[in-house]
Amino acid sequence: MSKLDLPVKPASTRTEISAAPGAGRRVLPLWFKGLAPLVLLAALVVAFIQVGPLGVFRQSFPPVEELTVERIRLPQFGVMEVDVVNGGPEPVTIAQVMVDDANWVHQVDGSRTLDRLDSRTITIPYPWVEGEPHTVALVTSTGLTFTGEVAVAAQSPRADARYLTTFALLGIYAGVIPVFIGLLWLPFVRAVDRKWIDFFLSLTIGLLVFLGVSSLVESVETSSLVAAAFQGPALVLLGALGTPLVLAAVGRWRAGERGERSPLYVAGLIALGIGLHNLGEGLAIGTSYASGEIALGTFLVIGFLLHNTTEGLGIVSPLAQERPRTTSLILLGLLAGVPTILGAWFGGFTYSPVWTTLFLAVGAGAIAQVVYELWRLFARRPGGSLTAPLNVAGLLAGMVIMYATGLFVPA
C-alpha cells in the first residue's frame, strides 16, 4: 500500500481560542507586560541561590578548574611575569609554580585564590635563557597544571618613547606606505577603458574576499586562546555579524531616500574595512616583536609591504570615474593604513587574545560589508556583471595576487 492510499485524516477542526473581548477584565500596563518575566526571572535566581535546590546540582567530583595564561613577559634578565586569568566556573588556588619542570619561588600580586574572571600577575625570579623556549606550569591546589609557553625568550619591550617610535615606524612601513603607493594607481585606473575598470573592481572584490576570509580564519584561531569564560567563538560571531549590520545601518542612514551610494562613500567603506583588517595585522606584528621573534617581525613587514600595496589599488578602483580631492585620498589612505600603527602598539604592549579575536572578527565583518557594497555597485552599472569572463578573471587575479604576496607572510 503506497502512502497515497492511506486513509486521509479528516482535517482537524481546531477550535479557535480567542480571547473574549475583555468585558470587565483589567488591562495591564505595557511596562508591566514587558518587565514581568524579568522580575520573575530575578526572583527565581535569588530564590535559587538563597534557599534553593542548589544541592541537587552539587557534584561529588572535583570542580573543573580552568586557568588561562594570557601572556608571559620577560621584563629583565632573571625575571618572568605571568598574566593569568581564571576563565573557569569555580575559584582556583595557585599552590605552586614550575618553570621548565622545576619548582620555583614566586610572588602573586594578590590572593592565591582566583575567583571566576579574576586575574593575577605572578613574578618569578627565573634565569631565562635568551633564544630558548621556556614553559611555565601553574600547579593548583588539586594538583592540576596549567601551562604557558615562551616560544623564544627575549627581553620584552617597555612602553618608552623609543619603543613607541619603533612600533610606529613598523606600522608606517607595513600599513601606511603600501596603501599610499597603491593609491598612486588612481591616474592609471582613470585612464583605462570601462571594461578594464570593471576588471579592477572585480580584482578588488577578489582581494577583499581573500582578506576577509583570512581575517575570519585568524579570528577563529585566536579565539581558541581566549579563556573559556570570555567565549571566543561568541566574540567572533559578534564581530563578524555585528559589524556589517552596523555598517549597513549607517550606510542606509547616509544614503537617505535615494538609496544611492556615492563612489567616494564606497571607497571610504573599503578603506575602513581594510583599516580594521590592518588593525589585526598590526596586532600580529606587535605581538611577534614583543615575543622576541625579531626576524619573524622583519619578514612580516616585508610581506605586508607587498601584500598591502594592492589594498590601495582596491580603494581607488571605485573612484575611476571620479575626481576626488587630494585631501580625500589622503584621508582614505590614513583610514586604511594608520590602524596598523595602533595595532602594532596594542599588540606589542598589551597583547590580549580577547581583543585580537574581536578586532579580527570586526575586520572580517567590515570586509564582508564592503564586498556586498561593491557587488551592488556592479549590479547598478549598465551591463555590469561579475560573471563576465574578464571580471571573473579579475576576481581570480585578486585572490591569486593576495595568495602570492601572502607567501611572503609566514602564516
Binding site: 622545576a102 619561588v105 585568524e218 626576524a295 609566514p410
Partner: protein, 337 residues
C-alpha cells in the same frame, strides 16, 4: 600572519626565511630591548633557594620529619612456642594528602598516610597483619620476602568493607617493602599504597642514627607523569627542614624506591660516600660510592658518617626529579665542646 601561539618548530622554520627579510628590511627593525638584554648579566642569577616550593604544609598534616625516624614494631607478645609475635593493623582508606604546600592529591593510603607505616621486626618473628579495607576499591598487601603463596597478597584482593589476616614468619633479614598488588597495579601503587618493611638480623647492626627514606612521586594532574618527586611524599620537605646529624656519628638510611612511571630513581650524597648494602641482606659485602640508582621495588641500606660539619645536600641524580622536589639537606653539626 603570525599566530601568537607559534611553536618552536614553526619559529625555526620561518626564522631561516626571516634572515632574508632582515637583510632587505633595513634598520628600522633593530630591537632596543635586545641590546639591553645582556647588559644586565650577573643580575638575576638563581640559587638553590629559588628552586623551591613556596609556603608551608597545612598544620596537622602528615609530617615527614616525624615519619623519617618512626619505626613500627607492632604489638609484641610471645607464642606458646616462644616465638615472638608481632601484630599489626593496616587499614586502607581514601584520603586527600598534601604532596607540596597547598597541593592536594587524592590518595589511597595505609593507615591514612603515604608512605604507610614502616613495619620493623626481627628475623624469625611471626608477623600477623590484620588488613581492613575501608577504601572504595579492592586492595591487598603484598610483602616482599619469603612466605607461603596464600600470604602473598597477589591473587586475593580484599574487597571494600572486607578484611584479611596476613600471617607469616619474617625472613630473610634485610630491607624490604610492602605494597598493594591489586590490578591495575600501576594506579594502586602510585596512589600511595606502599611502605617500608625492615627485618633486622638476629645479631643487630651497629647502633646508628637510623632513618627511612621512601623515594616516591605523584602524578597530580593524572597525565601519566609525576609532577612531584620526594623522599617520604612532601616535595623539598628535608630541604626546608634539614635533617640534623652529628659530625662523626654513624647514619643509617633505609632507602626504598617505589616511584611509579619512571624507570629509575636515585640517591646521591654530597661531601661524602656511603657504604651501600643492596637489599640489606648481607652484613659484610658492600660497595663504597656516593650515588646509587634503584628501579621500582629495589631498596638498599646506606651507612655513612660525616667528616665535616655544615649543610650537605642529598638528592636524586636525575636532575629533573631533584628540581621537582626530591632534594634534601643533611645539616651536620659539630659536637659541642
Amino acid at each position: 600572519m603570525a599566530d601568537p601561539s607559534l611553536t618552536r618548530r614553526d619559529l625555526l622554520k620561518v626564522g631561516a626565511l626571516g634572515t632574508v627579510g632582515l637583510a632587505a628590511g633595513g634598520s628600522v627593525l633593530a630591537l632596543p630591548g635586545l641590546a639591553q638584554g645582556n647588559a644586565k648579566a650577573g643580575q638575576g642569577q638563581a640559587s638553590h633557594h629559588d628552586m623551591m616550593t613556596v609556603g608551608q604544609l597545612t598544620p596537622g598534616s602528615f609530617n615527614p620529619t616525624a615519619f623519617l625516624t618512626h619505626f613500627d614494631g607492632g604489638s609484641v607478645s610471645r607464642l606458646p612456642s616462644g616465638q615472638v609475635l608481632r601484630e599489626y593493623e593496616l587499614v586502607a582508606e581514601d584520603r586527600e594528602i598534601e604532596v607540596a604546600p597547598g597541593v592536594f592529591y587524592p590518595a589511597w593510603t595505609y593507615n591514612g598516610q603515604v608512605p604507610g607505616p614502616t613495619i620493623r621486626c626481627t628475623e624469625g618473628d611471626r608477623l600477623r597483619v590484620r588488613f581492613i579495607n575501608k577504601g572504595k576499591h579492592s586492595h591487598s598487601i603484598h610483602f616482599h620476602g619469603i612466605h607461603p603463596s596464600n600470604m602473598d597478597g597477589a591473587f586475593e584482593p580484599v574487597h571494600p568493607g572486607r578484611s584479611f589476616v596476613y600471617e607469616f614468619d619474617a625472613e630473610p633479614f634485610g630491607l624490604h617493602l610492602y605494597h598493594c598488588h591489586t590490578v591495575p597495579i600501576k594506579r594502586h601503587i602510585h596512589k600511595g599504597l606502599y611502605g617500608a618493611f625492615i627485618i633486622d638480623p638476629k645479631t643487630e647492626r651497629p647502633p646508628a642514627n637510623e632513618m627511612v627514606m621512601v623515594m616516591n612521586g605523584f602524578d597530580t594532574n593524572l597525565d601519566g607523569e609525576n609532577e612531584v618527586y620526594a623522599i617520604n611524599t612532601v616535595a623539598f620537605h628535608y630541604q626546608q627542614h634539614p635533617i640534623k646529624v652529628r659530625q662523626g656519628e654513624l647514619v643509617r638510611v633505609y632507602l626504598v624506591n617505589v616511584t611509579e612511571f619512571d624507570l629509575l630513581n636515585s640517591f646521591h650524597l654530597h661531601g661524602n660516600l656511603f657504604r651501600l648494602y643492596r637489599t640489606g641482606t648481607d652484613l659484610q659485602r658492600y660497595e663504597w660510592t656516593d650515588t646509587v640508582a634503584l628501579c621500582q621495588g629495589e631498596r638498599a641500606v646506606l651507612e655513612f658518617s660525616y667528616k665535616h660539619a655544615g649543610p650537605f645536600m642529598f638528592h636524586a641524580h636525575q636532575s629533573e626529579f631533584a628540581e621537582l622536589g626530591w632534594s634534601g639537606i643533611f645539616l651536620v653539626e659539630a659536637p659541642h665542646v
